[in-house]
């Protein structure tokens, strides 16, 4: 007979759902039910189309919010150059740039530019925002990918271990680890990792996406992608691949542990929930071992909520990327966002934030699709 649940298990006790995720029915007992086959294809399509169409108002609202919030502080030129120019010259530049026109005129122009992918040029250094988004967006996506890998390979197995050892010391240790993982500020985790692995042990690089010599090598590639891992494979040089991977470890860990803690708790809760179902009890009574029960019967159902949580976690990862990228000089969107914020270059900032909003909305849409296809509890 099992003891009462460990007292620390209060933060995530039920499968999480996202704000934009489909409706989820109460957990079903037993393996994937056969009733999925009865769900009509046309209903699924309608559900997906609705989800897709919802992207547009979501992005529209986010982009509009960004625009108006930025304008609260005044026009971008005054914000960026206010301390450097005499008032008459500043007024002339504001007029030339059209920032003295009615706010709604500027707003609709901004919307038009945004939906055609033209975000203009940054004020402080004249960079084309669309190119900047493309260049640095790949770096951020690569970091998010590494972070998700870390989250999966740390969070899921350890969650299963915690469930298996429910209310025993390994469970207690892992739950404390999970709390620490998602409660520790990502920049602090980053600094700590750097201190230990780069400064003290000297086994991993301090910062950056690759050594300078590797980046020089990438510049000679005929078709660089900006995703360093792919570019490293393009070189065919094992040292370069190793170099890129070594630079990814600490940023990936710093950002990934944040999500790994959540995955760990989620998997643990779901595995424990599944292990208490009737069909599992039946299997147990037939002599199936606990290890086999966890591995064969509880593992797959426990993964389903992970899919929906990923939708939320992408937003968390992108938010965390600002600090992670700054800490590790990982020159992605978060790094650029912090830089242009410090320069008060709000044209660049609103372009970056708009792209992040689109990424989050699209990711949630994809997650909704996957959840609808694999999660029997989703109704549409």
């Amino acid at each position: 007979m099992r003891a009462a649940p460990f007292v620390l298990s209060t933060i995530i006790e039920e499968p999480m759902s996202t704000a934009v995720s489909p409706t989820i029915e109460p957990p079903l007992a037993g393996p994937a039910p056969r009733q999925r086959a009865s769900r009509g294809g046309s209903t699924l399509w309608r559900y997906l189309v609705v989800r897709f169409l919802l992207i547009f108002p979501t992005v529209f609202i986010l982009v509009s919010l960004v625009f108006f919030l930025m304008r609260i502080t005044g026009d971008p030129l005054t914000t960026a150059l206010g301390g450097k120019l005499p008032p008459d010259q500043l007024a002339e530049r504001i007029h030339t740039a059209g920032y003295d026109r009615p706010i709604l005129v500027q707003y609709f122009e901004f919307l038009g530019q945004t939906f055609t992918g033209n975000f203009g040029k940054s004020i402080t250094d004249g960079q084309d925002i669309s190119s900047l988004l493309l260049t640095h967006g790949t770096a951020t996506l690569e970091l998010a990918f590494y972070a998700l890998i870390v989250a999966f390979i740390v969070g899921i197995p350890l969650g299963m271990v915690a469930a298996y050892f429910r209310d025993r010391w390994p469970d207690a240790v892992l739950r404390i680890f999970a709390i620490l993982a998602y409660a520790t500020p990502v920049f602090f985790a980053g600094l700590l990792l750097k201190l230990v692995f780069s400064v003290w042990l000297k086994v991993l690089p301090v910062a950056g996406r690759a050594t300078t010599r590797t980046e020089i090598e990438f510049q000679s590639l005929p078709h660089p992608t900006g995703i360093y891992l792919i570019d490293a494979f393009q070189t065919g040089n094992p040292a370069v691949i190793s170099d890129v991977l070594s630079h990814a470890v600490l940023p990936g860990l710093a950002l990934g542990l944040l999500t790994a803690g959540i995955f760990l708790r989620l998997v643990r809760t779901n595995v424990i929930g599944t292990l208490s179902r009737d069909y599992v009890d039946a299997a147990r009574s037939r002599g199936v071992t606990e290890y086999r029960l966890v591995r064969r019967h509880a593992f797959k159902p426990a993964l389903i909520p992970i899919i929906t949580v990923i939708g939320l976690q992408i937003a968390v990862l992108l938010g965390g990327a600002v600090l992670t990228e700054t800490t590790f000089e990982w020159k992605g969107l978060g790094f650029e966002l912090a830089y242009y914020l410090s320069k008060r270059d709000f044209v660049a900032v609103q372009g970056i934030v708009a792209l992040l909003a689109v990424i989050v909305a699209l990711t949630n849409f994809i997650v909704d699709i996957i959840a609808a296809l694999i999660d029997p509890r989703v109704r549409y």
Binding site: P157, I216, A239
Partner: protein, 540 residues
């Protein structure tokens, strides 16, 4: 049936396997130094500066100038190791009349892309600066140019508004005079960086081979350059951009970059001086840090209820008596700044130690002198000083610096200092709106000449806007700028400083030094009074 302990071992084994997999990712990593040194034998330089615009008409900041110095040639320049201005692309440059400065170009000059570099390009360069007049650019330095003629392919005549401008050659040695290709650059707007790189529109010692904005710039020697600096000692140089100075410090320490140039923290530099793997090279720095008094709003200032010029002067003098510059330099900046006892910093013609002679005792604070000057003026102590500083524009150590200034002023009980800080955008507006009675400023020179430390501060149109005016000083500043006799000019510069030191419009505190940290296998790092770091002198 499997025992409980066996099951536990299996699950723990699974967890261990996961950990091994995670570590395997790290395991493929080489040590921090990396093992990818196969990409070439050039020199890698790290910096925390940022480029704003490559186009010399669009920027005048340290980050942009570091690159511009390498890729754009000048009519006048200085050899590495000196600050003496002499012809670069010019074969000859001289005043042919009091208001005509005539430059003769070397024959057969070309840009990196093969375009001819003629007097027409030179005229285009300076006219373009005046037309664009970008607020972030250096065009304001060219205010003395009335017009420019290019009578033939190698002759350029600058017609000046003020005669015998002794600073004009120095102005031509700044980024304002960086020669650009009229076939590539538009006459009325700043050219995007990518277009400049694509067109190979470079006239300097290097050209840019690849350009990843504020991440990585690869340079290669420009074979068409035929100027003062000669051929670069190392053909391939890469400039790597950092945000965090501590990362740059670790990378130069580990040999991942060969040179770290601007800007390591004082603590990091002090630490690196003890490291056998690197060499720290110091050079004179043009940067100065100082305290400004607003003559209207400081204690006993002109617009205060208790206005009294004599008492206001006594307050400034007492403050000057109590400041311990050496302590600030040692404690806060670990020797990366040195005490500054004059308005023109050490290393430039006309530099003195006038403040050392007038205030304190042998450069150290003198509480008795401060008390006496306040007592003699009838000032009731403690005097309340509202001292403002900026934490984000003059470096992270400003807070420590001004905390120490407060401590020094308050140590004798003669002053009570209310220390406040404001972020730069607001600070730069408020300091010129009489909001701050006493405040911090810093200065990095536009060009290497004493005039650049006098005219902007104490001339007719002082940017300080602190309501200090001395007609004698203004007249002497104008005179020295056109004095053709070097000895007489030096004497006038010293005289100006003596007068300003008596008035104490500002209290100079510290003079910066330039620092470059190199691997022990790197030679040729040269930091001089021209404040330009040339990649062409570096070799391994």
């Amino acid at each position: 049936m499997t025992s409980a302990s066996t099951r536990s071992k299996r699950v723990l084994g699974l967890a261990a396997g996961t950990a091994v997999f995670a570590l395997a990712l790290a395991g493929c990593a080489p040590s921090t130094g990396g093992s990818t040194n196969s990409a070439g034998g050039g020199i890698i330089i790290g910096t925390t500066d940022k480029v704003t615009f490559l186009d010399p008409a669009g920027s005048f900041d340290n980050g942009s100038q570091t690159v511009q110095t390498q890729v754009f040639a000048l009519l006048m320049n200085s050899k590495p190791g000196t600050a003496v201005v002499e012809p670069d692309l010019a074969a000859k440059a001289e005043f042919t009349s009091p208001t005509d400065f005539t430059v003769t170009l070397k024959p057969g000059l070309k840009f990196a892309n093969g375009d001819d570099l003629t007097s027409s390009d030179v005229k285009f360069t300076f006219d373009r600066q005046a037309t664009i007049a970008d607020p972030n650019g250096p065009s304001y330095l060219l205010g003395n140019i009335a017009s420019i003629d290019a009578p033939d392919d190698t002759t350029v005549v600058f017609h000046l508004k003020a005669a015998n401008d002794q600073t004009f050659a120095s102005v031509l040695s700044t980024a304002a005079g960086a020669i650009v290709d009229e076939e590539v650059f538009p006459a009325d707007k700043v050219l995007p960086d990518a277009d400049i790189v694509k067109a190979e529109a470079f006239s300097g010692q290097y050209q840019i081979k690849s350009y990843d904005f504020n991440n990585l710039i690869s340079f290669e020697a420009n074979k068409n350059y035929d100027g003062l600096l000669g051929a670069a000692k190392t053909s391939d140089v890469t400039l790597k951009y950092y945000t965090d100075a501590s990362n740059l410090k670790l990378d130069v320490q580990e040999g991942n970059v060969d040179v770290a140039y601007r800007s390591l923290s004082a603590t990091d530099v002090a630490d690196l001086r003890k490291n056998d793997k690197v060499t720290v090279t110091d050079g004179p720095g043009g940067e100065i840090r100082y305290i400004v008094f607003n003559f209207n709003t400081m204690p006993f200032g002109a617009t205060t209820p208790e206005a009294d010029p004599a008492k206001a002067l006594a307050v400034r003098q007492a403050a000057a008596d109590l400041i311990d510059r050496q302590e600030i330099a040692d404690q806060v900046y670990k020797g990366t700044y040195t005490p500054l006892f004059s308005y023109v910093p050490d290393g430039l013609t006309g530099a003195t130690t006038v403040l050392k002679d007038l205030y304190g005792k042998d450069g150290k604070p003198d509480a008795d002198a401060a008390k006496k000057v306040l007592d003699d003026a009838g000032v009731t102590t403690p005097v309340v000083l509202n001292l403002q500083y900026n934490p984000d524009h003059y470096g992270e150590s400003s807070g420590d610096e001004y905390a120490l200034v407060k401590s020094q002023l308050e140590a004798t009980g003669l002053f009570t200092v209310n220390l406040q800080s404001t972020e730069w955008t607001t600070y730069s507006k408020e300091r010129t709106s009489d909001v701050y009675p006493v405040y911090q400023l810093g200065w990095f020179p536009d060009f290497s000449d004493a005039d650049n430390y006098l005219t902007p501060f104490f001339g007719a149109d002082s940017f300080l806007v602190n309501h200090y005016t001395n007609d004698d000083v203004i007249a002497e500043i104008a005179k020295q700028a056109t004095e053709t006799d070097p000895a007489a000019r030096q004497s006038e510069i010293e005289e100006i400083q003596a007068k300003v030191a008596a008035d104490l419009s500002t209290i100079p505190l510290l003079q910066g030094s330039q620092v470059a940290v190199t691997g022990t296998d790197v030679k040729g790092a040269t930091l001089d009074g021209a404040f330009k770091f040339r990649f062409g002198t570096l070799s391994k």
